[in-house]
């Protein structure tokens, strides 16, 4: 037996061995030379095969993260504008309610497209499991759908799109306004943020390690894309009141700064695990989405807006909104894909799960 061959093997002992003979190939090949995983050193792997499985979530799920965020953001802004705004801000509430309904209606369709069969969506609402963000999120999405539908129906009655005497208008009118607004706001905050929490509630290194920032990042992105959708819709359909434009811009800037800060914070806290976000094919979309399209371009487009002619103001507002929306989509796509890449790299997962152990297995 060669039982003792496993003990006391130093790295130097392996010097001169052709790399192709070593068990750990690829990234592990240079580093996993049986020296034992100590802090900061990538561990030895099994032929660089993934140590955990990545979720094969594709474009449908990323798009859903986006539409869910827009719906939540638009609903929240509309509700807050209705509660705290003046008569000028009614247009914001109106646009926000319709946009929220449209985006929330698209969401289950995207999820069903991802699941493959329509009847499978039903099983999401078979039980409520508080420990599973996928379960609570499905209920939250359904709840927001209900409240967004109520708000949009109320708006449609106000706008005369639904006859006041109709059955629908009377039913909607009977729902207490304050209570549905409050519950809807809670659902909005939940749907806007749970997708980020859902991602960090896995073993995927990039998501799991930035668990404190994923929820806030997705919520902030939901808010900024919601604001962008509203200001784009307002600017595209007519002149925007100056006061409204100003607070929409300020809120959007605040969200953009916070989003860039959260993204930078996530990368800083990830340390060496941040690799998929700082190098490779997802780095550019991630930073272009947060810093470029989410912050820099909108700031540039909105500069000196007060003195510009009305037509140019509207054009620039549409451009700003489109930039933020695209940025939000890119951020979600990049975080999902970077997470999947980290799951494929065994060193990343094995490093994450080294724990505080010292002598295990030695």
């Amino acid at each position: 037996m060669t039982a003792k061959s496993g003990t006391e093997r130093g790295g130097a002992e392996w010097a001169g061995v052709p790399r192709r003979l070593l068990w750990a190939r690829g990234a592990g090949g240079e580093m996993g030379l049986a020296q034992g995983p100590s802090a900061g050193q990538p561990p030895r792997t099994y032929y660089s095969y993934p140590a955990m499985k990545e979720p094969h979530w594709g474009p449908e799920v990323v798009l859903y993260f986006f539409t869910g965020g827009v719906a939540a953001g638009a609903y929240l802004v509309a509700t807050l504008a209705h509660l705290f705004g003046g008569p000028e801000d009614r247009a914001v509430a109106r646009a926000g309610r319709y946009l929220a309904l449209g985006a929330i209606a698209a969401s289950p369709l995207l999820l069903i497209a991802d699941l493959g069969q329509p009847r499978r969506w039903r099983n999401m609402l078979r039980i409520l499991k508080t420990r599973s963000p996928m379960s609570t999120g499905s209920w939250g999405l359904s709840g927001l759908g209900l409240f967004a539908g109520l708000a949009a129906a109320r708006q449609a009655v106000e706008d005369g799109l639904i006859p006041r005497r109709s059955w629908l208008a009377r039913t909607v009118g009977r729902v207490p306004l304050q209570a549905s607004g409050l519950l809807g706001t809670l659902a909005g905050f939940f749907v806007g943020s749970y997708t980020g929490v859902l991602l960090s509630f896995t073993n995927v290194p990039v998501w799991a390690k930035s668990r404190l920032l994923m929820g806030p990042l997705y919520l902030t992105s939901a808010l900024s894309t919601g604001l962008a959708a509203i200001s784009t819709a307002l600017a595209a359909s007519g002149p925007v009141a100056e006061g409204t434009r100003r607070w929409l811009g300020r809120a959007s800037d605040a969200a953009g700064v916070a989003e860039a800060g959260l993204a930078a914070g996530a990368v800083a806290s990830l340390g060496p695990q941040a690799r998929p976000l700082t190098r490779g094919r997802y780095a550019l979309p991630f930073w272009a989405g947060t810093l470029g399209l989410g912050l820099a371009l909108p700031l540039l487009l909105r500069r000196g807006l007060g003195t510009a002619p009305s037509r140019e103001v509207r054009l620039r507002l549409v451009g700003t909104g489109a930039s933020v929306l695209l940025g939000g989509l890119l951020v979600r796509w990049a975080t999902v894909m970077a997470g999947r890449e980290s799951a494929r790299r065994p060193e990343a997962y094995l490093m994450l799960t080294q724990g505080g152990r010292g002598s295990q297995g030695n």
Binding site: A3, K4, G6, E13, Y46, M134, P216, G243
Partner: protein, 305 residues
């Protein structure tokens, strides 16, 4: 087969699930594994990697009993292990760790074989993540996916700390993994892999028995000179960290866990849900107040003008 064993074997409760098969086969596990299978007891595998010879009989037996389709036919080119990993269509996987070319010029080396399987965790990440309730804890303490309830959301896939579950598009797009041969346990048969194992590297039994057996075996292996040997997945040991509790399918290993592609200190994802939720709630409160203040402020500025 002695009379005593025959008596125990035929002494199974006369429920409908024991009606199939000839009487002498009821409770067959008594004969093959020395264990009578009863609902309400936790069962599992003790996989002793020191006696595994890498024959992959367990993989073949598993595929055959569970009627799993073959995987892509080809050579991986990394070792003699060409199945590579556990997946929806490979519920047992024998890893071939090659330790050759070791420095002192003797050319001596060794193979480490390890038959990997779903760990049927005490606290299972997949079970907690599943939004539909498709993943359940059975009366045998195992973790089972009900294929008619699973809706293919794939959330269990990254929630498993051991990379056991995947979704096979060819199999209805739902998640699949080892069932601890639930159908066999129901009729008193030990799981196919354990029955097929020619060296008893895979031992099936009641968890309490297995742990005792494993401790004895560990002492024996250490006394014989394999000082690095340890148990992976017993309470308090590596593999049973971070809220996972313990593994119903545990292993005797002689190298660090990573060498077998196992995490040394896995963590249950649900451990992160409270801090993540609190951070998010704080962000929600911040944005609610900030946005409301911006709208309010703008309205007041307009009034004053």
């Amino acid at each position: 087969m002695n009379a005593d064993v025959r008596r125990i074997a035929s002494d199974q409760p006369a429920g409908p699930r024991y009606r199939t098969g000839p009487p002498e086969l009821r409770g067959e596990a008594v004969l093959t594994a020395g264990t009578r299978i009863e609902p309400g007891t936790d069962y599992g595998f003790f996989t002793d990697t020191t006696v595994c010879i890498g024959c992959k009989a367990c993989e073949a037996a598993c595929k055959e009993w569970n009627q799993l389709p073959m995987d892509a036919f080809g050579l991986k080119g990394t070792s003699y292990d060409n199945s590579g990993e556990l997946s929806a269509t490979t519920w047992r996987h024998v890893a071939f760790v090659e330790e050759f070319g070791g420095g002192n010029g003797s050319g001596a080396g060794r193979w480490l074989f390890m038959s990997d399987v779903c760990k049927h965790c005490e606290q299972a990440g997949c079970l907690e993540a599943c939004p539909t309730g498709a993943i359940v804890r059975t009366e045998f303490g195992s973790v089972l996916i009900q294929e008619d309830v699973c809706n293919g959301c794939r959330y269990c896939v990254p929630s498993c700390p051991f990379g056991v579950i995947t979704v096979a598009e060819g199999q209805g797009g739902t998640a699949h993994k080892c069932t601890l041969c639930y159908d066999r346990l129901k009729v008193g048969l030990e799981p196919a892999c354990a029955k097929a194992c020619p060296t008893d590297s895979i031992q099936f039994g009641a968890l309490a028995d297995l742990r005792e057996r494993a401790e004895r075996r560990l002492q024996e292996v250490r006394e014989r000179g394999e000082a690095r040997a340890y148990l992976y997945g017993v309470p308090g040991g590596p593999g049973a960290t971070g809220g996972v509790g313990s593994l119903h399918c545990f292993f005797l290993l002689t190298e660090r866990p990573e060498v077998y592609n196992l995490p040394a200190a896995p963590e249950l994802p649900s451990r992160r849900v409270v801090p993540a939720f609190l951070a998010t709630a704080a962000a929600a409160a911040f944005w609610g107040v900030t946005t409301a203040a911006l709208i309010r402020g703008s309205r007041q500025a307009r009034r004053e003008r």
